[in-house]
């Protein structure tokens, strides 16, 4: 677009096209939006820069999403736990949320997003936090304790096949495969 915006190197573009579910236009658009998040001095080497979490959360697609913190945590590969995202992390995220990603990949990452304590399973506390995110933080739209208990009991009864009190990845993917809507609702398009 502008003269100051640097372009993505062609070889990298081809590699990204092969390794993600994004098309060429989507990758270029992602590059443009990502470099807009960086301050002007760093835009030249946007490929290797890291954007802090606060900047990522200003994107309109993530701004109002209740799972925004989990998304940043799951896709960030920064070693010091500050959830900053590089361009490749950003592409990863868009690839998983894109139109052509498979159900397998989407359900895998959905599991990781919903696993609030990151222990590899969804236990009662994870499910409670998930329902709280879904119903919003307002006072009038929370479930009462009894209702929450009943809901989590039902969820575990329906999805915990090996009856160990938690839902692991395979059980989660089995539940997700029963829903035809999941692929179209687990989508973010720039």
């Amino acid at each position: 677009m502008g003269g100051s915006a640097s372009l993505l190197p062609r070889e990298a573009l081809g590699e990204y096209q092969e390794l993600t579910f994004l098309t060429k236009q989507e990758i270029l658009l992602a590059y443009k939006r990502f470099s807009e998040l960086l301050p002007k001095e760093e835009r030249e080497n946007a490929c290797s820069a890291r954007v802090p979490k606060s900047q990522i959360l200003t994107l309109p697609e993530l701004r109002a999403n209740p799972f925004q913190h989990r998304i940043c945590r799951v896709f960030s590969t920064s070693g010091n736990g500050d959830d900053s995202m590089s361009f490749e992390d950003f592409l990863d995220m868009l690839s998983v949320f894109s139109d052509s990603a498979t159900l397998d990949i989407k359900s895998h990452y959905a599991f990781r997003i919903f696993d609030f304590d990151e222990d590899g399973t969804l236990d009662r506390s994870d499910l409670e936090k998930l329902v709280d995110c879904l119903t919003g933080q307002g006072e009038e739209s929370r479930l009462s304790n009894a209702e929450m208990e009943q809901l989590i009991q039902n969820i575990l009864e329906e999805s915990d096949i090996d009856k160990d009190g938690t839902i692991n990845l395979s059980e989660f993917q089995h539940v997700i495969s029963r829903s035809p809507d999941f692929v179209s609702s687990f989508k973010i398009v720039l």
Partner: protein, 708 residues
């Protein structure tokens, strides 16, 4: 092998086992619903629990790499299970390296990675790139893998960029290429709406979006029909116009009534000639002036007319059945007979919604929906008394009686009305006006009834008053009136209502976008087009124009005036429902009406391409006879026509085959359900084994601690 590794663990970590201590068979005192992650478990037990393969798959890179190593190995061997005897060092790393998190050296990860690379190298390039694409690792990891792969596969050369992705997914490649040409022309039309659809989805969610996607689907159907009719019927007739009477003057009223200037135009059946078009013999009245040479490509108009309509209907039928089966296949699941609360919770959030207010609305909707489901479940456990059940039955019956009687009343009224109609031009509009008025008012009445019950019934009325061109004109008027009334309904139902709500009643609530009613209006309009295409070949063009205009009008009205529906709608089941509704009453009815008209009704004597024939179908028959006479070598064609097309035995045979296929599929599904039940029981048993072993482990550590 799993049992072997646990046994080893217990042996090496506990000396008590060697002391031949009697571990009494503990009663598994498991209360239902008790959480197995007991805080009483010792830290070592918890650590071992945390590194179980079923839990590491969801979080650690090494486990994912091992899992995909197994998958690629399976792919290479093409058998579902690797043999258990193969327990050498390089096999089944997910079992050997079960203790992933406590192993600090990175060498393990490298080892796994090299194993995976070795397996990937043995695959074909297409499978390899597909596997790389679908492994849930970060992009940096995938790039490393790819670099290692390219370095190992061609050791001397620099890693070069392999060819672009379409050929990597080999199976899709061929289908894509063949469809590419056909879809290219549509892509240009679809792209301008891509942003509009994203905007609608972002503010209102997937359910309202499904209405607009349905509108787009209808547009595609109409464009296909239009193209066929344009190329084979309208264009040849436009090039060879028949000798016609002097045209009437054009007044503005024709756009609404379709009569007057338009009566003798390409729009209607009556304009089309019943002769071979480029044969000068047929059209000239004086037989002696005929040069007696047949033209090079004789274009038989009646044949072209009936065949084009037949082919466009066949194409529409094929497209409808295909899209219906695809959306049905996506929404139907075998063995999903248990409750769906878990599914609802995990798939409830629509990530496409981005506006803050819409997000808040979505949260409220989900909360309401969950509360309703839980309340319903609680009330289901306590059964209704006899009185309540009786009351509900009475209400149901009353709603049915009211709906049916109003439909009957409308039918009787319309029949009476159209029999007493006069043929003056502006009055021709009265019948469609009345029909459209009823179409608009009745759904509101039914919505009122729906506060008791959920009812949506369309009132689809077409009354065939006069013959072909008149029928075509009538249908044209219906289509135009329907469009005008849709516009008026949008104006009054949405804009004016919102203004009333905001200014007069001071409520800060916008009217809801009524998806059901709008979809039924679309289906009504499409039914009219299909019914009328035989009598007015350009009707699909008018319908296309109408749909394009409707898209923009509805979108603008939606953005300005409406809020998203508060009822939870499942978008995919709705799309299936819309397409099914389009196919079964609407398309099937139109097809039956069309077949009846072509096969049994006598066409009019004085106008149109089938003058003088007994039925429209006879044009095909006479052509076959003519062909037989002129060229004796094509007797097989006549034979095919006589014994296959005309014979009813073929129909019975095809129905029998179809029924057999359906029965077979039902049996297969039944067998699959049984297997799913058995597998679930097996998994539950394995789970009990696991819990038993964990308890045993815990008791071992407890006793060890007590001794220390």
């Amino acid at each position: 092998a799993l049992h072997t590794s646990f046994h080893q663990l217990i042996q090496e970590q506990s000396s008590l086992m060697e002391a031949a201590l009697e571990l009494e068979m503990q009663e598994r005192s498991r209360e239902p619903g008790q959480d197995e992650q007991h805080p009483n478990f010792s830290p070592t037990t918890l650590r071992i629990l945390a590194s179980m393969p079923s839990r590491t798959i969801g979080r650690s890179r090494g486990a994912i790499i091992s899992q995909y190593y197994n998958r690629t190995a399976r792919l290479r061997r093409r058998s579902s299970r690797p043999p258990l005897q193969q327990l050498c060092r390089t096999a089944r790393p997910s079992l050997r390296h079960y203790d992933l998190e406590t192993d600090p050296t990175r060498a393990t990860l490298e080892e796994k990675r090299s194993l995976l690379v070795k397996e990937l190298l043995s695959l074909s390039p297409g499978q390899r790139s597909h596997m790389l694409l679908t492994v849930p690792l970060s992009l940096a990891e995938k790039r490393t893998l790819r670099w290692v792969l390219s370095r190992q596969s061609q050791p001397g050369r620099a890693p070069h960029r392999t060819s672009s992705s379409p050929c990597g997914r080999s199976k899709d490649c061929i289908v894509l290429v063949s469809l590419g040409c056909g879809l290219l022309s549509l892509l240009a039309a679809a792209q301008p709406w891509h942003y509009a659809l994203k905007q609608i989805g972002g503010r209102f969610g997937s359910s309202v979006l499904s209405y607009f996607v349905f509108l787009k689907t209808l547009l595609i159907f109409n464009i296909f029909s239009l193209l066929i009719l344009l190329v084979f019927v309208v264009a040849p007739q436009a090039v060879y116009p028949p000798p016609s009477a002097s045209p009437r003057p054009f007044t503005g009223l024709e756009l609404l009534t379709g009569a007057g200037y338009f009566t003798h135009s390409l729009l209607y059946y009556g304009y089309y000639s019943n002769v071979t078009l480029n044969d000068p013999c047929a059209s000239s009245p004086n037989g002696s002036m005929c040069p007696h040479t047949a033209p090079q490509f004789p274009y038989n108009m009646p044949l072209a007319y009936v065949f084009s309509i037949g082919v466009s209907f066949l194409l529409t039928c094929v497209l409808l059945v295909y899209s219906m089966s695809r959306s049905f296949g996506e929404s139907y699941r075998v063995g999903s007979s248990t409750g769906d609360l878990a599914v609802k919770v995990f798939c409830a959030w629509d990530f496409k919604v981005v506006q803050r207010r819409s997000v808040k609305l979505q949260c409220e909707n989900i909360c309401t929906q969950l509360k309703e489901l839980l309340a319903e479940q609680r009330s289901r456990s306590c059964s209704l008394s006899l009185c309540q059940r009786l009351g509900r039955t009475v209400v149901l019956l009353l709603a049915w009686v009211l709906s049916l009687s109003s439909v009957l009343g409308c039918v009787v009224a319309l029949r009476y009305f159209s029999e007493h109609m006069h043929v003056q031009e502006a009055i021709l509009l009265v019948l469609p006006l009345v029909v459209s008025l009823l179409n608009v008012l009745m759904p509101h009445l039914y919505n009122l009834l729906a506060t008791w019950e959920k009812q949506d019934s369309p009132v689809t009325e077409v009354y065939v008053a006069c013959w072909e061109t008149c029928v075509g004109q009538d249908l044209y008027r219906f289509v135009v009136m329907d469009f005008i009334f849709t516009l008026l309904d949008t104006l009054f139902g949405e804009l004016v209502w919102r203004l009333i709500l905001e200014k007069k009643l001071k409520r800060n609530q916008k009217p809801e976008f009524d998806i059901a009613r709008n979809v039924l209006e679309l289906i009504y309009g499409q039914t009219l087009t299909w019914l009328g295409v035989l009598f007015a070949p350009l009707l699909p063009a008018i319908q296309t124009l109408k749909l394009v205009l409707l898209f923009y009008v509805k979108k603008t009205s939606l953005m300005q005036n409406c809020q998203s529906p508060s009822k939870p709608w499942q978008a995919s089941r709705m799309s299936t429902f819309f397409i099914t509704l389009l196919c079964f009453p609407s398309f099937l009815g139109a097809a039956i009406f069309l077949s009846y008209t072509i096969l049994s009704v006598r066409p009019s004597e004085t106008c149109g391409p089938f003058q003088g024939l007994e039925t429209m179908y006879k044009s095909g028959k006479t052509w076959v006879q003519l062909l037989e006479k002129s060229n004796p070598n094509i007797t097989w064609f006549a034979w095919v026509h006589q014994y296959l097309v005309e014979n009813t035995f073929l129909l019975f045979f095809m129905s029998g085959v179809l029924l057999a296929v359906i029965y077979f599929n039902i049996q297969v599904v039944r067998g699959q359900r049984r297997i799913i039940r058995l597998l679930k029981e097996q998994i539950a048993n394995e789970g009990e084994d696991k819990i038993f072993l964990i308890q045993k482990l815990h008791s071992v550590y407890e006793q060890r601690e007590r001794r220390a």
